[in-house]
Amino acid sequence: MWNLANPTVFIALTRRALPWLAVATAMLFAIGLWLSFAAPPDYQQGETVRIMYLHVPAAWMSTFIYGVMALAALGTLVWRHPMADAAQKAAAPLGAGFTFICLATGSLWGKPMWGTYWVWDARLTSVLVLFILYLGLIALWRTIEDAGRAARAAAILTLVGCVNLPIIKFSVDWWNTLHQPASVFRLGGPTIAPELLWPLLIMSLAFTLLFITLHVMAIRNEILRRRVARLTMMAAARDDRLAPGLAPAGMRP
């Protein structure tokens, strides 16, 4: 397990694992999509219930990815391991993407069911805050030039943002909202009929595998980016040694 924290070992492993992960993800999506359209319409919502097979997995992924980032943030702050920062940085755009899918599909589901694309209720607003948090973290990494400082600042902001996760989860219980309460992960078991529940679970697995595949690819990209940065700095230092007069005055030792 700890070997995976070695960038060279990680890259060698991704070469072998990625084709399998990609094939498994594509197969799960094919099965999940087929089941989603083969499932019967809901007795109240009719055909619009098919939006659930995208909206609910995307919503689960949006909070799951933030949880992954929070764990990686602990790795950055406690062990100061560069792979933890790489994992956190690689997950942020994916988290933003899945949260965008959750918000957009929820809005398209809300219009025919609630009569409006958007309401400022607790669940919708807290998920919007999560989306803004993802964008803020991406901006933070791009703004701070020193990679170490950026990693620590992003890790602290990620951990502070964790306060939003229980708000998202329990908002439908704590406040009156248009959004329905939990219907799958709840005490007393799911309230969804098995014909609708199975496609939902398969699609959730497909979304999870898609995230794992893209996250592994994005961590690999981050490792390569850091190698490029290191080699560029070494090349600049070598050029400066060979021809010191050519370097700008402020950059000479």
């Binding site: 359209f37 319409p41 009719g46 055909e47 619009t48 098919r50 939006i51 995208l54 909206h55 995307a58 755009p93 994916l94 993407g97 965008f100 899918i101 957009a104 599909t105 398209l108 589901w109 219009k111 025919p112 898609l210 893209l214 690819m217 994005a218 690999r220 990209n221 390569l224 980016r225 190698r227 490029v228 080699l231 560029t232 070494m234 090349a235 070598r238 050029d239 060979l242």
Partner: protein, 52 residues
């Protein structure tokens, strides 16, 4: 399905999700190609003794 008065919302939701997922996949692949090309260039430069 197409008889439903709300099929447009279902189609729009699936199209939005497909485009976003495709965007994430393409962005990740494009980043990999860019980093690999940059790394190859730098290693070639280093291998040729820094002459560019």
């Amino acid at each position: 399905m197409s008889d439903s008065p709300h099929w447009g919302f279902v189609a729009a939701a699936y199209a939005t999700a497909a485009l976003t997922i495709l965007g994430m996949i393409l962005a990740t692949l494009a980043d990999f190609r860019a980093q690999s090309a940059a790394l190859r260039r730098l290693e070639e430069t280093r291998g040729s003794g820094g002459e560019s």
